[in-house]
Structures are given as structure tokens and as C-alpha cells.
Symmetry: C2
Subunit: 233 residues, 2 copies
């Protein structure tokens, strides 16, 4: 019972492709032609984006499968065939979110020359991203699994939040080592302060704060950093 191997010894397909490599006949060697059976009647990426917006707006728990099938405009069996269960769909949504709406953090850390510049850019871009029209306000990773009765889901987003703070900390440590920040700098506390600012700004965005208001908050928050270079007071 319940095996992954069929009666004839072949493997079961596990069709719902986990995000990328949407079934180009990988194992068989075939690459070109259409799959085999009846083609899907909806665009998977489009449906995924609709699911993303629903989860972003209402959170994991409060978004029912019935809500999802309505906004994705597909039937429940199609959803389960294409994405697995609700939790798998959410995990895929989080992955897509991190690679698109949430990518500004990694990008700033990678591209800016100093930790301070990276954090300044992160806070400024957060103010814009969290209040952008056309999608829900705030950060999905911060809010979508709050008060979740599935502990694994809540923990998975918690891990993402703490990973961002760890990334801030290591970036700050690098600057301290390079002499761009004073040796007495408390990198962990500075990183956690940055994380708290981002999460607080996200909550503020959900509570109605405008982009300009969040930018003012970000500017105030940046005044904790040691002064370097020019400045207009």
C-alpha cells in the first residue's frame, strides 16, 4: 500500500513539478514535443502569482483552498495536481516571493560597498516596496504565517526572517574587520536593530503608513550609524 512504485515496477510520476523544470521529459530523454495527455488549461505561473497575492493579503491560515481556487480560477483537483497540497503551494509562493518582491534585501547586501550603505538602501527600498500599489502592503515573510496553527509553516518564515538578520550581521562584521566600522561595533545588535526596523516598518505599512512616512522613519533609523562622508544635516 501507498508505495511510490507501481505494479509493473515503474516509478510513479509525482507530476506537480516543484517550481522549476516544468516537465521537459527529463527522464525519458525527450525534450521537444508536448507532454503526453490532456494539456493543462491554465498557466501555472499566472495561477501561482494569484495564489501569492491571496496569501500575501490574508496569510496562510486565513486563505482557504476555496479562496485559492476562486482567485486562481481553477478547480480544486487541478490545484492539487499542479501544486500538491495547500502547504506545498504556500512554500512555492514564499520561494517566488523571495525571488521577486523580497529580493531587494539580498541585492542591496550584494551590491552596496558598505554595510551602512546596504542597510540604508534596504530601509529605503522597504519603504517603497511595502507601500507599493498593485499588491498588498507589508512583507509576506513577516506577516503571512503569524498565528499559524501549522508550526512548520510558522517556523519556515521565522527562519527566513532570522536568516536575513544573520546576513546583516555578517555583512556588518565584514565592515568591522575591514575597518569601515569601529572595532567596538556590536554587530549582532546592529543587525537585529535593522531587522526590527524592517519588521516594524512592514507592520506600519499594514497599519496604513504611506511611503513618505516610512521613508522618514528609515531616515531617522539611519542616524544611529557612525557618521562617514559628507552630510547636509
Amino acid at each position: 500500500m501507498h508505495s511510490m512504485v507501481n505494479d509493473d515496477g515503474t516509478m510513479k510520476a509525482e507530476s506537480h513539478g516543484t517550481a522549476q523544470a516544468e516537465r521537459p521529459g527529463a527522464a525519458t530523454g525527450k525534450v521537444k514535443g508536448r507532454p503526453r495527455g490532456r494539456p493543462r488549461s491554465f498557466d501555472r505561473e499566472t495561477a501561482l502569482e494569484k495564489a501569492l497575492l491571496a496569501f500575501w493579503l490574508h496569510g496562510y491560515e486565513a486563505t482557504s483552498v476555496s479562496d485559492l481556487t476562486r482567485v486562481m480560477d481553477i478547480g480544486a483537483p487541478s490545484l492539487y495536481a499542479a501544486f500538491g497540497d495547500k502547504r506545498s503551494l504556500f512554500e512555492e509562493v514564499v520561494q517566488v516571493y523571495g525571488a521577486t518582491y523580497g529580493s531587494f534585501i539580498d541585492r542591496a547586501l550584494a551590491e552596496e560597498p558598505t554595510a551602512r550603505a546596504a542597510v540604508e538602501r534596504v530601509l529605503r527600498e522597504a519603504a517603497a516596496a511595502y507601500t507599493e500599489p498593485g499588491h498588498p502592503h507589508g512583507c509576506l515573510v513577516v506577516h503571512a504565517a503569524a498565528n499559524c496553527s501549522t508550526p512548520e509553516v510558522e517556523q519556515s518564515l521565522r527562519d527566513r526572517r532570522n536568516a536575513d538578520i544573520a546576513a546583516f550581521e555578517s555583512r556588518i562584521r565584514a565592515d568591522v574587520a575591514a575597518g569601515a566600522l569601529p572595532p567596538v561595533t556590536d554587530a549582532a545588535a546592529l543587525a537585529r536593530h535593522t531587522g526590527a526596523m524592517i519588521q516594524g516598518m512592514s507592520q506600519q505599512a499594514r497599519d496604513g503608513a504611506s511611503r513618505e512616512e516610512l521613508e522618514a522613519v528609515a531616515e531617522i533609523a539611519m542616524s544611529i550609524w557612525p557618521r562617514t562622508g559628507t552630510h547636509t544635516g
Copy 2:
């Protein structure tokens, strides 16, 4: 149907006393002796505190009535008779929370001589309160109605959060008017920054930050304020 008046013309009791004045025979003039019928078999305040802890830990939506009756150790009909419905119980819980665990904000604003001292005390006490053993971490008002599918409940806590920020702002404005802060001070932004810090620290507490870590964050956050008095930096 569904009237507040019984067949004999008398009024229905609507017994579940809304928080205070637990039925001392108000209308009849009687004050001393026991009510009339079968006495309640549980302590209302104790049960309310248990409900508070459950809502604090899991949030409004994820705490089911079945959860509540279990932790309060009463049957569902007793819960409904004593507290109304789930939403009324939650509102009463929020009120109790604000008068106890959450009262440190109002107290600091009322007792400290300056806005800066008040905010400093608020942040320091938040670091302690949000990580205190014996109850869930973080702030109930910040988290318990996140992703709530009952908009009124979500809005009611949002209003409380924004009211706190408004209180910060007016306290800061008072200091500006009194000359304790520079005239160019952006009171709204400073207040919102404080709100974001509190909410961010609350999220950090939920994500596992310790009291010491939050105190370090609070200390960093306080460095945005114009320097007054002595300082060892």
C-alpha cells in the same frame, strides 16, 4: 422571533456582565446576598486570564472555542453565558491585557518628565515585558489579530497600535513646544519610528530574541535622539 423580551413581557437577562460590576443586583436594589439561581462553578477572572494566555499565544483566529473551553476548564455553554461569544471574550481579553501587561506604555508617558525619557523607558520595559517568562513572548496587541478573517477584530487592534503612536506624537509635540526638543523635530516621524521599534522588538521576541538582545536594540534605537545631559559613549 429573536427578541429581547420574553413572552410574559419581562426583559431577558443578558447575564454575561461586560467586565466590571459583576452583577450586584443593580436594577433590583439588592446588593448583598448571592444572586438567585445556581452559582457559577468557576472563577470568572481566572478563566479570563487563561483565555488571555491562549489568545496571546495563538492569536484570535487560531484559538478555537474548543481550545478556550479546555484551557478555561469550563463547558462551551458556560463560556457563552459568562462572556458572550468568542469575539466578545477576545475584546474583554484585550481590555484586560491593556490594563495589565500592556499598561507600561501609558504609565511611562504619564510619569516620565520628557518624551525622550518616556520612550527610553518604554523601549527598555518592552524588552523585558516581551521576553518575560511565564507568558507568551511579544505583544498581544501586535500579533493576536494578524491575518484575521474578521476585519473588525483586526481593525480594533490596529486602532490600538495607531493610538499608541498618536500618544507618542502628542507627547513629543509637547516637548517641542516646551523647548525640550528642537523646533525642527519631526514629531510624527519620531513617534512612528518609536512605534516601529516596539512592533519590531515584539516580532523579534516572538522570533526568539532574548531580553538582553532586545535591550541592546533599544539602546541603539535611543541613539537617534538629540544628546542631552551626560553620556559615556
